[in-house]
């Protein structure tokens, strides 16, 4: 290959990669702007535009994949610009196309396209129609931004888009209290864990002088090595794992996931069956070199993954609603996938993510068919399968089984633990601060200014 050809190929790949990001972003603008000025597009146009964005993005990703494959998966870095530079410190906007990001974009964009086609019919005549597709486009943009990110900063931006679109879709039916509570819960969990990612970014910048993965890792995925000092690598690893726990619904942050099944079915499918739930896995795969450099973190990840998988399997087996059951099934697999990453595997978890996401989103999309499917199954088998109480349970004493059932019905122990040791102290602090503020206001402005409004003296649980 001549230099000219290589340059051409590079430009072509750069264009394609940019398009993968620009396509959903453009649709976001195309349907979002008219809605913003109070003239939302008709349903058909909305789905068509979003569909076109995802489809062309998907095709661009396929073409990129072919181009990369032709050159043996040498990563292509696309430099989009620079946020700021100060001395030897730079925050650049870089995308990277390699054997991890491009297949992942193919799969994520393809799935978004399918869900778009599904939702176009499913949400017909729904008052929040345009809002749903705006959030879907926002999600697609965030997803591709996160996946293609060539630096921790860009990844963080994508990560945040994911979080906000996810929370807003959980609260899609905002006239229902349950939905808003669940959205708030997910949002809070995300925000708490996002601190990990943010801190990891700061530490990486501090240590490497740049957030670019090319400056932090040497070599190509999946055989990259970390350029960070071992202690820093361990710290960054811990922070990244912490960030991943929230998004992927791992112990001890499992509580939000079953509650998240409040939005329309297609958003539940793509977020909690397919893409959002695996964002943590992607983050850790992307930064796998850190885990290699910090075995303690890898072991911790393995332990958390296994614990989550067991938790999900046990709690999931007592769920009586379809979506809740599927949420725990997703959690179990997400746990296994994180454990695989902790074990040092790279391609296996990647395949597992893709495969699991496709299977699970189909299951969630089909969940309203459960009656139909169960009847068909029962008819073919000549009887209802009924509960399949596992042999393990039969071996345990009744008291233990009942106790375990009780714990499972209460969604495990992590929730009350977190509630008691994290949430309650934080709330108590906040309440004390509020009371102190009231006292100060009273002191400064006289009694009238600081008199408590009705309902201030208690309430939040």
């Amino acid at each position: 290959m001549t230099a000219a050809e290589i340059a051409f190929l590079h430009d072509a790949v750069a264009g394609l990669v940019t398009w993968q990001l620009a396509a959903p972003a453009a649709t976001l603008v195309a349907i979002g702007l008219p809605a913003l000025v109070g003239r939302p597009l008709p349903e058909r146009a909305t789905t068509w535009i979003v569909g076109a964005g995802f489809t062309t993005g998907f095709l661009a990703a396929l073409a990129t994949l072919a181009a990369l494959a032709a050159r043996g998966f040498v990563p292509e870095v696309v430099h989009l610009g620079s946020l700021f530079t100060a001395n030897h410190h730079a925050a650049t906007i870089e995308l990277v196309a390699d054997s991890l990001s491009v297949p992942y974009v193919c799969f994520a964009t393809g799935l978004c396209g399918l869900v778009n086609a599904f939702a176009g019919k499913y949400l017909h005549r729904e008052p929040g129609f345009t809002r749903f597709f705006i959030l879907l486009a926002l999600f697609g943009t965030g997803m591709n931004l996160m996946v293609l990110a060539g630096s921790i900063d860009v990844l963080f931006a994508g990560w945040e888009f994911l979080g906000i679109s996810s929370a807003l879709l959980i609260g899609f039916f905002h006239e229902r209290r349950n939905a808003v509570d669940a959205a708030l819960r997910a949002f809070t969990t995300y925000r708490v864990c996002d601190v990990g990612l943010l801190a990891a970014g700061v530490v990486i910048h501090q240590a490497a002088g740049s957030g670019d993965f090319a400056q932090v890792f040497a070599g190509t995925w999946p055989n990259a090595t970390s350029l960070l000092p071992p202690a820093t690598a361990t710290l960054v690893g811990l922070l990244l794992v912490f960030a991943a726990l929230g998004k992927s619904g791992q112990v001890p942050f499992t509580g939000w996931l079953p509650r998240a099944m409040e939005g329309p079915t297609p958003s539940s499918a793509i977020f909690y069956g397919a893409l959002s739930i695996h964002a943590g896995a992607y983050l850790l795969l992307r930064c796998e070199a850190v885990l290699d450099a910090a075995p303690v973190v890898a072991w911790l990840l393995l332990a958390i993954g296994v614990a989550t998988a067991i938790h999900g399997a046990v709690v999931g087996s007592v769920q009586t609603d379809l979506k809740g059951m599927l949420a725990y099934a997703s959690m179990t697999q997400a746990g296994i996938i994180l454990a695989e990453i902790g074990l040092g595997l790279r391609l296996v978890p990647l395949v597992h993510v893709v495969s699991h996401a496709i299977l699970r989103s189909l299951q969630i999309l089909r969940s309203p068919s459960a009656m139909h499917d169960r009847h068909e199954l029962a008819a073919a088998l000549g009887g209802h399968p009924g509960p399949s109480n596992s042999t393990l349970l039969r071996l345990l004493p009744t008291g233990v089984v009942k106790g375990l059932y009780r714990v499972a019905l209460d969604r495990g122990l992590d929730e009350p633990l977190v509630a008691r040791f994290v949430v309650q102290p934080v709330l108590a602090t906040l309440e004390a601060a509020a009371a102190a503020e009231r006292r100060w206001v009273e002191f400064l402005g006289g009694a009238a200014a600081g008199s408590p409004r009705r309902g201030d003296d208690g309430g939040a649980a």
Binding site: L114, A117, F118, K121, H124, E126, F173, N178, A179, A182, R259, M261, E262, T265, G312, A313, V318, T320, L322, K323, G324, M325, Y328, A329, T332, Q333, I336, V351, S355, H356, A357, I358, L359, R360, L362, L365, S367, P368, S369, A370, M371, A378, A379, A380, L381, G383, H384, G386, P387, S390, K402, Y405, R406, V407, P416, Q424, G455, G458, G459, A461
Partner: protein, 1009 residues
């Protein structure tokens, strides 16, 4: 002090009383549309909906704005409003107000025709400063009223019209404000609620103990009732909900936090009491009584408290109740379900949450222990503190008076001259005509316009009776279902020699049925009947081996699929399955989403191929008289068959003049990804599919032995008449036929022509249905329409596979000649009835016994789900989540959503069923006298009943006001629209289309064959 036994009886009675108010809906796999407010049928409709709305926190009627839109577009007319006002107010409408300047009737009329809102004091200030309300006259005044006021303004000396307007409105405003500032604003004392939760919520909107209790309660009840979703079933379910739940919660195990802290101890005590000894029912009743005592609820408030506590989670409570009284309707597992258990559990949790919430608000609540914990004192205090509703302030009243004065034509001078009594009377009259009263009258007017439209058309439409005018080529008996109306119309439009009948879709064959692919029997008859016979479908002798091979193949596939499905959720197999299975799942995912119709076709084609060559028959004739394990008999004997055939033929008036081919067509509906699928099936088959009933009926009517028995009883079916069974899929508009190979060769030509007729009628029917779907263009061709409806049935993403009964409004009991050639827009149940052959009214009584509850129930279920889609309906389908295989929740943890989903009722026009009966009024009254349930529906006006005198054709409407008489109906107009065929009449419209005479379908002396 009452003895425990008295207490128990009392509590049990109160529970039974309160249970009437719970939704009557059973498990969702056999969805039967019933009156949502069954428990209120003892009351007149209008009173019932208002009382029920208060209990359920729901809406009694559509929003006023909706009715105003209907008024604006002419769906409600001023004449309707005048008529309902006259009927409602009676002579009171002439009562004088404002010192004799206006009448009550005029006031109410103006308040209905023009929207006047009572604004809050804060809103009034905004209105006064930001809108020209007191500078301009209302824009909707009629010319005379406007001129009169403008004249006053000009007389006061104004240069321009604008000044004149400003003068008079300003003066009127001053007069109104001065007048209303005289008497003091009133305070309205409502009765405070009885539950601690509601009292607390009224004092502090941030504290909702139900939000604490419900998640745990729902989880426990859902786990208890689960029919096989969870892989791990709740332990000890056979001991009852209370015992099982108390055992679990009593274990603690989980870190108790907040309000749940006292629960383990209390639950352990309950669990200990649940041992052997007392019957479980008594334990629950004791717990309820003890909890009510501990909550400090005085005895007179118990009934209300129990009712409110149940209604607070009415979906789940109702399901518990349904499974308690009909355990046979549990889809898989029969459980000892008791509503008392549910209530006891609920009150245990309620008390813990209430104590916690009150404690946090500073009430002195004893930690725990015997006797009074302070809840009673808190209850009394909270009731005292219950915020009274303040009446509107003088500005708000002034503005209201200002607006009303303009409408009724009161001048500033008139207002100033009002004395205090006049003013109080006038304001009271305005206040008494509140939003609910206005909506009630709007609703009556809305229904009146509909009735007028239909009854005028019926009166004007007269045709001659086809039965007596010629020999029909084919006779078709379909279900009375409103969705069959269009199908029948198209069959008749295509050929005047086709005659159709309507009968309840189980065709008088009540049975448990098991097809060759079913695993258990299902009842196929109205839910009020429990069948005593079982009919099985078996493969023909030659196909038995083939069928066995097919069944084992099917079992293998199911095992693989079921294994993969459940395996993908487990820990060990899941890792394996999900990492490999995704590649396989990608195929159905893409296929189902991108090519839904092709995929559905391929799937059904594959099923057909698998079934090919397997001929089946029904085991109809009873071989042995030994009952089956479930107590039913296997098959019928000849006498029973003859009786069923005779009954149906007599009911529909088909006892002579048989055509060579008589088709009996049941109906059902298939759609994917639709938890409410069963709601679209046949109501007369208890939410099942009526195909097997039609098939069984045809086989029986063809049986020579049965015909001989019938002939012996005087009902002669000619030898050349052949009966044929079929099933109409109302979702795909296609008919599936049974036992075609048993039709004799002599009828081959007639048969093939008939099948082609039905295919054609199906595609026209599909096109008429498609006009209702926003996503299908209005100019779609019949073939394309057929493809569209087929595509919807097989599409995972389609939440509106069909609209079901969503336009239902009318039921006509009478011969088809009344309605043949009349376009009824798929809105009418058509029950065939021959009044001339039923002098003693026995047939009418039978028909009404079935029609009243089935059609009335469907109509009322749709009405309430439409009037309040959230309070009575199931809300939007989009977040629905199937739980326990018995119902759907919104999202992860909500009350069971009963009623119909929004997507099924969005196009529904909520009017009560207009039941037209073609029979002398005496006969109707006699029949009703023997039918308690139907009489209640009629007398309390849950259906609007109209009698048509068969001799004179005169209509008379039932009026409860005059002691339950039939009052002659005077048509508004006898002109009826005409159209050459149905298509040209509805073409280009999506909304409801009024009745019209369809010339192609009408039989006139010229076209009679």
């Amino acid at each position: 002090m009452a003895s425990p036994n008295d207490n128990r009886d009392e509590v049990a009675r109160l529970i039974a009383e309160a249970a009437r108010f719970l939704p009557p809906q059973g498990p969702i796999d056999a969805f039967v549309a019933q009156n949502t407010l069954q428990g209120f049928e003892d009351l007149p409709f209008e009173e019932a909906v208002i009382r029920a709305a208060a209990l359920h926190d729901a809406e009694p009627f559509l929003p006023e704005s909706r009715y105003r839109e209907e008024l604006a577009r002419g769906r409600i007319r001023a004449a309707d409003i005048d008529a309902v006002l006259a009927a409602d107010l009676g002579d009171r409408r002439f009562a004088h107000l404002a010192g004799g300047r206006i009448t009550l009737g005029e006031l109410c009329r103006q308040l209905l025709l023009h929207g006047v809102r009572l604004e809050s004091d804060a809103a009034v200030r905004w209105t006064l400063t930001e809108s020209p309300a007191i500078e301009r006259l209302r824009p909707d005044l009629d010319e005379t009223a406007r001129e009169r006021l403008m004249g006053l303004g000009r007389a006061a000396g104004a240069a321009t019209d604008i000044d004149a307007e400003r003068n008079v409105t300003g003066e009127l405003w001053r007069a109104c404000v001065e007048t209303t500032s005289r008497p003091r604003p009133s305070v309205v004392h409502g009765r405070p609620p009885v539950r601690h939760r509601d009292l607390l919520l009224a004092v502090d909107p941030a504290v909702d103990t139900d939000a604490l209790v419900h998640p745990l309660l729902i989880r426990l009840v859902a786990a208890y009732l689960d029919q096989g979703v969870a892989a791990w079933a709740m332990p000890d379910r056979d001991r009852g909900l209370l015992a099982a739940a108390a055992d679990l919660v009593g274990r603690g195990g989980v870190l108790p936090e907040g309000w749940t802290r006292p629960l383990p101890d209390r639950m352990r005590a309950v669990a200990a009491a649940c041992g052997p000894g007392l019957p479980p029912e008594s334990i629950s009743l004791d717990v309820i009584a003890a909890e009510l005592e501990a909550l400090g609820i005085p005895r007179p408030s118990w009934p209300d408290h129990i009712a409110r506590s149940l209604v607070a989670l009415r979906g789940w409570a109702g399901m518990v109740r349904q499974l308690e009284i009909r355990p046979d309707r549990a889809p898989v597992v029969r459980l000892p379900v008791r509503l008392a258990d549910f209530l006891a559990l609920r009150l245990l949790l309620d008390r813990a949450a209430t104590e916690w919430a009150l404690g946090r608000r500073g009430f002195p609540i004893a930690a725990d222990g015997a006797g009074d914990t302070g809840l009673g004192a808190a209850w009394v205090e909270l009731r005292d503190r219950h915020p009274p509703r303040r009446g509107p302030g003088s500005l708000a009243r002034g503005l209201l008076l200002h607006q009303v004065s303009q409408l009724v034509g009161l001048t500033p001078a008139d207002i100033q001259s009002l004395d205090d009594d006049d003013l109080v009377d006038l304001e009271r009259a305005i206040a008494a005509f509140d939003a609910v009263s206005r909506r009630r009258l709007f609703h009556l007017a809305y229904e009146r316009r509909h009735a007028t439209e239909v009854l005028d058309a019926l009166a004007a439409h007269a045709t001659i009776d086809v039965l007596r005018s010629g020999r029909p080529r084919v006779q078709a008996v379909l279900c009375i279902d409103d969705r069959c109306e269009s199908f029948r119309r198209y069959l008749e439009e295509a050929d005047p020699a086709v005659e159709t009948f309507g009968a309840a879709g189980f065709f008088s064959v009540p049975m448990y049925y098991r097809g060759i692919d079913d695993w258990h029997t299902i009842p196929l008859c109205p839910i009020v009947i429990r069948p005593t016979h079982t009919v099985t479908e078996v493969p023909e002798e030659g196909a038995a081996a083939l069928n066995r091979r097919r069944q084992s193949r099917r079992r293998l596939l199911a095992r693989l699929r079921g294994g993969a499905e459940s395996g993908s959720r487990t820990l060990f197999r899941g890792g394996l399955f999900t990492s490999i299975g995704g590649a396989i799942a990608a195929v159905p995912l893409v296929a189902r989403v991108v090519f839904p119709r092709l995929t559905a076709r391929a799937a059904s084609h594959a099923a057909d191929v698998a079934r090919r060559g397997i001929r089946t028959r029904l085991e109809l004739l009873r071989q042995v008289d030994v009952p089956l394990p479930d107590g039913t008999l296997a098959g019928f004997d000849v006498a029973e068959m003859a009786a069923m055939v005779r009954r149906l033929l007599e009911d529909i008036g088909l006892t002579r003049g048989f055509a060579p081919l008589v088709a009996v067509i049941g109906h059902g509906s298939t759609s994917l990804n639709n938890p409410h699928e069963s709601a679209y099936d046949c109501g007369a088959c208890g939410g099942g599919r009526g195909g097997p009933n039609a098939r069984a009926f045809a086989l029986m009517a063809n049986d020579p032995a049965v015909r001989k028995a019938l002939a012996a009883g005087g009902l002669e079916i000619p030898a050349h008449t052949v009966f044929l069974g079929g099933m109409l899929d109302t979702c795909t508009s296609r008919v599936r036929w049974f036992d075609l190979d048993r039709v004799p060769p002599s009828h081959a030509e007639a048969l093939s022509r008939w099948l082609a007729d039905c295919t054609r009628a199906g595609s026209l029917d599909a096109r008429e249905r498609c006009r209702r779907f926003d996503s299908v263009p209005l100019d779609v061709s019949p073939d394309e329409a057929l493809r569209r409806v087929e595509g919807r049935a097989g599409d995972l993403a389609q939440v509106r596979p069909e609209y079901g009964h969503a336009t239902t409004a009318v039921c006509i009991v009478g011969p088809r000649s009344l309605t043949r050639g009349l376009y009824l827009d798929r809105r009418a149940f058509l029950v065939s009835y021959d009044p001339s052959a039923d002098a003693d009214g026995a047939v009418l009584e039978r028909s009404l016994a079935a029609v009243g509850p089935v059609c009335g129930g469907i109509n009322l279920a749709y009405l309430f789900s439409r009037v309040d889609p959230v309070g009575y309906g199931a809300g939007t389908k989009l977040p629905h989540n199937i739980t326990g295989l018995i119902g759907v929740m919104d999202g992860h943890c909500s009350d069971l959503r009963t009623g119909l989903p929004l997507q099924g009722v969005e196009i529904h026009e909520p009017v009560r069923l207009l039941l037209v009966i073609d029979a002398p009024t005496d006969r109707i009254r006699n029949a009703l006298g023997r039918l308690h349930a139907v009489r209640r529906l009629v007398e309390n006006q849950w259906v609007r009943t109209v009698a048509r005198d068969p001799a004179t054709g005169r209509l008379a409407t039932f009026s409860a006001a005059n002691g339950g008489r039939f009052v002659p109906y005077e048509p508004e107009s006898l002109a009826i629209a005409m159209a050459p065929d149905s298509t040209s009449w509805y073409r280009g419209r999506r909304d409801n289309v009024p009745p019209a005479r369809i010339l192609a379908g009408s039989i006139t002396p010229d076209t009679a064959p």
